[in-house]
């Protein structure tokens, strides 16, 4: 479990977090959404112990990330947006790096890497950025750490690879793991995450499960004037209007992350209020 308590963080005079507090449970895949520069990466760096909060506490599995104890580091893996892999072969990477992670699953690594269509005998220096990223992601998933942080993992991946990534990450999720995926490409996280965390203006403005959101909100395309009048958010499209409505009739609809994100950014307080209501 990840406990974030009253965390303040700033880069010099620029305040990024002003007292964020939340708890992230194991067994979930969290999608961290937000505009550029709202602190998605900064949040992940704080969780990994790469940056230290100015104030407040972060506790992950009983450890303070800022202490960077080996026992903590062997139970957390971060796939940063800009990553570094040494100029060695994949086999050497496994040989020299996997022993640092006690639960590293060699068989799973081979499965992940083959699902990304990368031959295990390849040398990392000859690979493209996207291929290297796939190796990094495969390695990260195979470490079986209880916390996995992925910063913009779909950047640099083609359309097919993005689908492969979603499949592989969903397959690697277990009840013991907490997976956090930050992205500004909201669509990339659809059908993958089960919790949404939206950051804006130094705070977490939404932290809800997809289940609860689908219970409370309906996402649909409509021409109905009444729907448009009651919409929490509306956006014209070719076939009418996409709307976000209160789900008062217990209708089932798929959560449209992009609409949810836009609706939340437009009026966070209203969205919070609607999500906390009991219909």
């Amino acid at each position: 479990m990840i406990s974030i308590s009253n965390v303040h963080f700033s880069y010099g005079r620029k305040c990024v977090f002003s007292g964020i507090t939340t708890t992230l449970s194991a067994g979930h895949i969290y999608g961290v959404l937000g505009k550029n520069g709202t602190g998605k990466s900064t949040l992940l760096y704080n969780l990994a112990g790469l940056l230290y909060p100015d104030q407040g506490d972060i506790i992950i599995g009983g450890y303070k990330p800022s202490e960077r104890k080996p026992e903590f580091l062997q139970d957390i893996f971060m796939i940063p947006e800009e990553f570094y892999l040494p100029n060695i072969s994949i086999k050497a990477l496994i040989k020299y790096y996997s022993p640092f992670y006690p639960r590293f699953d060699h068989h799973a690594f081979e499965e992940y890497i083959s699902s990304f269509d990368i031959p295990i005998g390849n040398l990392l220096p000859g690979m493209s950025y996207g291929q290297k990223k796939k190796v990094y992601i495969s390695f990260g998933l195979a470490t079986n750490t209880t916390v996995l942080l992925m910063d913009e993992p779909t950047n640099g991946l083609d359309i097919i690879s993005k689908a492969q990534l979603r499949r592989v990450v969903a397959g690697a999720a277990t009840p013991e793991k907490t997976i956090l995926i930050s992205s500004h490409q909201v669509k990339d996280l659809e059908n993958l995450i089960d919790e949404v965390l939206i950051l804006d203006d130094t705070n977490i403005i939404l932290n809800e499960s997809i289940d609860r959101i689908s219970q409370k909100l309906t996402f649909k395309i409509t021409f109905d004037e009444q729907d448009l009048d009651h919409a929490l958010y509306t956006e014209p499209v070719l076939k009418g209007n996409t709307v976000v409505l209160k789900n008062t009739n217990q209708e089932e609809s798929k959560v449209d992350l992009e609409l949810l994100y836009k609706a939340t950014m437009t009026d966070p307080a209203k969205m919070k209020q609607v999500l906390s209501l009991t219909f």
């Binding site: 104890k69 580091l73 062997q74 570094y84 640092f100």
Partner: protein, 269 residues
């Protein structure tokens, strides 16, 4: 919750990983040192002065090579911390900061020292044989294990005293490579220059404040030079002089290493 800072199996894993990943970098460093010496001693061989290969001058070559290569390589020992992706990679490897730091010291200080000395010995050996052949001299190749028997061209005292300068300066370059995110090596050189200016300024101020004279026996006595030749000796407190000498000779380097370690421990992106 207790955490061991050094676990032998994990330390070995980290050392093996470091050696494997950095083997080419260290090989190129050794080749660069060798190339530098071949070039330098090769040029010296073209001069007509036979004394350019005397034991005294060979010792000078050795220390100049050691200072140049040692400081330059140490200034880049933790250069990966200056690049965000590499810093993330380095900081998140599941080993303790002490293990990572000791690994850097082992390869960057200990292994480098042995390799640099070995390379110098081989190239110096060949150069001295060629010089003896060319000039008809009988210079001996200096034995790096018994440096104290050779004359010191840099200062008073045994030649091995120069190591008391080398290791703290090298440690200062290591500290700079941890401390500065960008251009650590250049900042270290500038920093060393400023330290030297500060040292000279302090020396000049002391020189103006103190009566005309000089320090004897390192700094144990200050001899005031009188015009009539009746010089006076001022004995400094033994505790003070002993403390200064022990600190500068034996404690300064470990102290700088410790500061570097602590800085590495609290290093952020």
């Amino acid at each position: 919750m207790t955490t061991l800072t050094i676990v032998p199996t994990r330390t070995m894993l980290y050392f093996k990983k470091y050696a494997f990943e950095n083997r080419k970098a260290y090989l190129f460093l050794c080749l660069a040192v060798a190339a530098f010496l071949v070039l330098w001693l090769g040029v010296q061989l073209n001069f007509t002065n036979p004394y350019l290969f005397s034991e005294r001058v060979q010792a000078m070559y050795y220390f100049i090579t050691l200072f140049l290569a040692g400081c330059l390589s140490s200034g880049m020992l933790f250069s990966e911390l200056g690049s965000k992706p590499r810093a993330i990679h380095y900081l998140l490897i599941p080993a303790s900061t002490l293990e990572k730091f000791l690994c850097g010291l082992f390869f960057g200080v200990f292994i480098f020292f042995i390799a640099c000395s070995g390379i110098f010995y081989i190239i110096d050996y060949i150069a001295v044989q060629l010089a003896n052949y060319k000039y008809g001299t009988n210079w001996e190749v200096i034995n790096l294990l018994t440096l104290e028997k050779y004359p010191n061209a840099f200062m008073e005292g045994p030649l091995t005293d120069i190591f008391y300068f080398f290791f703290p300066i090298q440690a200062l370059f290591i500290l700079c490579s941890v401390f500065f995110k960008k251009h650590a090596l250049f900042k270290a050189i500038v920093g060393m220059g400023l330290l030297w200016v500060a040292f000279v300024a302090l020396f000049l101020i002391l020189h103006r404040l103190l009566p005309i004279g000089k320090f004897n026996d390192t700094i144990r006595y200050y001899e005031i030079v009188e015009a009539d030749g009746d010089n006076k000796l001022i004995v400094l407190p033994a505790l003070l002089t002993t403390t200064v000498i022990i600190f500068s000779k034996f404690l300064l380097t470990p102290l700088l290493w410790t500061v570097s370690y602590l800085k590495l421990k609290e290093k952020e992106l």
